[in-house]
Symmetry: C2
Subunit: 469 residues, 2 copies
């Protein structure tokens, strides 16, 4: 049996080319211009979507694995050579390319807010630059997924949520990484067998309409399936839901003591009403132990409404809404140069501020509740827990990483329990969670901005003069 957390991701070859072409053209320019000084890049989400009071950081394990494995294969270099943009000298340099940098990151399963660095990379500029696309892709995906799943788990309360999303999630990688992210966020199990094998996430499943349809008779299908899998979940809505429930009850009578069907599944119609009717029928028949599993187009709001109306549903199968995070499928995530060669860097483009330099987040508690964060310069000290921890040094994971999945899941549960209730809720919080920028970081940002403007004005001046000469 593959228990949660004991499997690890396999070697992921060939991902050095999972990058935007401009990263490679810039890399060649850095190489030619000898720009190899240490750079600090910060990964953060610029603002929270209206429908997210917090995000749940996720994806770090994947990224660390990929950074350790990152190298250009000969076929990659051949392909690049064919693009007629890269010198042989540069391609030879790429051949020896390894990621040798340092990564500090917020642990997976930790709530984060706008502008808080989820991860900071310190590495020679070309190394930190090349990985931009891959790191963003993976942290974005898994943070979108974990953040959404946490909402489903909150809505379902004590009841289990099961991941049914594989068929409509965006591709294989999303479905696999999703099952892991959902598990960290508190989802009970996944239908995705490969995710079970690869990550050790518990797998579960019931039956599909096609199984019922393939039989001449629904009762016959139920009987055959329950014979093979006595403690199964039987799908009752293929033809007529309440008729289906009657057939389950009939099967119960026929099997007597041998009847161990665990639950029925409702997958269409008015789930609240049908669940109540089915519950009454099952109870009247003495089948109190048979649970009700509901699925079919559910999201956190539908689940909350069903439970607010006391629908007697014991577990929820959730597919597309969680799998794609359909209400918020993307975050305004950025990976930005914050320091180069010891100097703070930012850009002044409209409305997209960068906090310069290496940073730390300090999270204060009041009692057993998170009370507010300060984003500060890395070397500052503030009350509260520093969230960014060293996870990779000189291209090697530090011993505490990877953490196993059970540890991450426990961590996420404890973390979410410490959020103020209005922030943890699925409805938009009236007051956002308080996050401030430390005076020292603010002063640093002002100083870097002033320095850039000064340099810029002078150089603009020169240019204007040059322009008319």
């Amino acid at each position: 049996m593959t228990g949660a957390g004991h499997a690890t991701a396999p070697y992921t070859p060939g991902l050095a080319l999972f990058t935007d072409l401009y990263e490679l053209t810039m890399l060649q320019a850095y190489y030619e211009e000898d720009l190899h000084e240490p750079a600090v890049f910060s990964l953060f989400v610029r603002r929270l979507p209206q429908r997210r009071n917090y995000l749940l950081a996720c994806g770090l394990d994947t990224v660390l694995q990929q950074l350790e494995d990152l190298r250009f294969e000969l076929s990659d270099l051949d392909y690049l050579a064919g693009l007629d943009r890269f010198s042989d000298r540069f391609l030879r340099w790429l051949e020896a390319f390894r990621f040798t940098g340092t990564v500090r990151a917020v642990p997976e399963g930790t709530p984060v807010f706008a502008n808080e660095p989820i991860l900071e990379v310190t590495a020679p500029l070309p190394e930190a630059q090349l990985i931009e696309t891959l790191v963003m892709n993976q942290i974005h995906l898994q943070t979108v997924q974990a953040s959404k799943a946490a909402r489903l788990v909150t809505a379902a309360g004590e009841r289990q949520v099961v991941d049914f999303g594989a068929r409509r999630m965006h591709g294989l990688d999303a479905a696999l990484k999703g099952a892991r992210a959902f598990h960290i966020a508190g989802v009970a199990s996944t239908s995705n067998v490969l995710a079970g094998k690869r990550y050790g996430v518990p797998v579960s499943g019931t039956m599909a309409h096609s199984y019922i349809q393939a039989h001449e008779d629904e009762a016959e299908a139920f009987a055959a399936f329950a014979r093979l899998y006595p403690d199964t979940v039987l799908l009752v809505d293929t033809y007529d839901t309440l008729e289906g429930v009657r057939r389950i009850i009939q099967l119960g009578h026929e099997r007597g003591e041998a009847f161990r069907v665990r639950a029925i599944r409702l997958d269409s119609g008015d789930l609240g009403t049908l669940a109540r009717q089915a519950r009454a029928m099952l109870d009247d028949a003495g089948l109190q132990q048979v649970g009700i599993f509901a699925s079919g187009g559910l999201d956190e709001h539908a689940i909350a409404e069903l439970l607010a109306r006391d629908a007697p549903i014991d577990a929820f199968g959730v597919g597309t809404s969680m799998g794609i995070s359909t209400d918020v499928p993307d975050l305004d995530i950025a990976y930005k140069l914050a320091e180069y060669a010891g100097e703070g860097r930012l850009k002044l483009s409209s409305g997209k501020p960068i906090l310069p330099g290496a940073k730390q987040i300090f999270r204060r508690r009041e009692g057993d509740r998170f009370a507010g964060d300060i984003i500060a310069r890395q070397d500052e000290n503030h009350p509260g827990e520093p969230l960014l921890q060293p996870v990779m040094h000189e291209g090697q994971r530090l011993p505490a990483h990877p953490r196993d999945l059970d540890t991450l899941r426990d961590h996420a549960r404890e973390q979410r329990a410490q959020l103020p209730p209005a922030i943890r809720a699925i409805e938009p919080a009236e007051t956002p969670y308080p996050v401030s920028v430390s005076p020292a970081l603010q002063a640093h940002q002002d100083a870097v901005t002033r320095a850039i403007r000064a340099r810029h004005a002078t150089s603009g001046q020169r240019q204007h003069q040059g322009g008319v000469s």
Copy 2:
């Protein structure tokens, strides 16, 4: 140089477990019950989203490759054995499992509408069942992507659209398959280098803000980059967009004849106004040949509005909106049993009709326009072009498949040109494209429904009697 269409997808091992657990539990039940007769499954989208007048079918090549490669590895069987649900006998049967079925499909790049089968599988029931999750996942993803990209391409008209989506798309697979789907739909190139290598999609790229930031001076950065890449695109909005444009002009003056910068890129602010101002400045400086490339949060509506206002923009870089299809990230796609052992099958669950049996779509033309479709039984004849074509026989692709990417792209362009203009448009069509169900298929559906109801009523009767006994 890897030209479009000359690369093929590599062997994709280990995907047999990319399935929902219930497929495997059902498979074991089919195996035990000896349900191995031929089944027909139809893959279709139940209804079009409001913001899609048509869908562009995509993903077939991937699916055919995966079906050819589908097999259980020993580590897969070990994992399954550990779940304590599967007999050794069944696992040995899985070890020899191959997909031996027939697939008929609409060619990639063909417009499809609600309820039209994109693909039909005929195979022994367990084979057709197992592949449900994988086939749905891949066709759903790539059809979502191609359908969205076609809208961007329509909005941009003669101007190029470039895929910048890799960093925020949902994982590696989505970003890779997306670059291919976008290319089929008419997108000019992708920033995703691995997609270029793997699928032969043309790659392109400019520069990032971090390159500018890493230099002390913006003008110095422009000069260095243009020295290495004379015909490059330079990003001008890192500090102040119009100052950036002045620096480009200055560089033009300094370089004279050697100045070959192809375009500037605007990535923030009011793109229409900035493009007009930049165009005027470049023209005044005699740099008419320098184009303007725009990016930054663009979708089809933003592009249409910019062009309606005559913004002098020559090409568009599009990321998240296209990459995730944020307005419509999912389709109500289904893969449903339509026939088993020669008998039409359907389910009667509320609001989710199935058209039974193997089917064909006939598409009529009036002049050079598509005029309407008929969904019919496979053996019918109707005026118009039959869209579903045999693509796999006994588990082997037919010689015409894979088609190369250029062929698919040409096909998609010709197909989209034949759509009625209101259907091709990005605004919702007042009248949907006409799709009807043939009388014979309708009669078949009625007959199958009657047969199921009759059987169901009788069996329900028996049960009710049984229930009170």
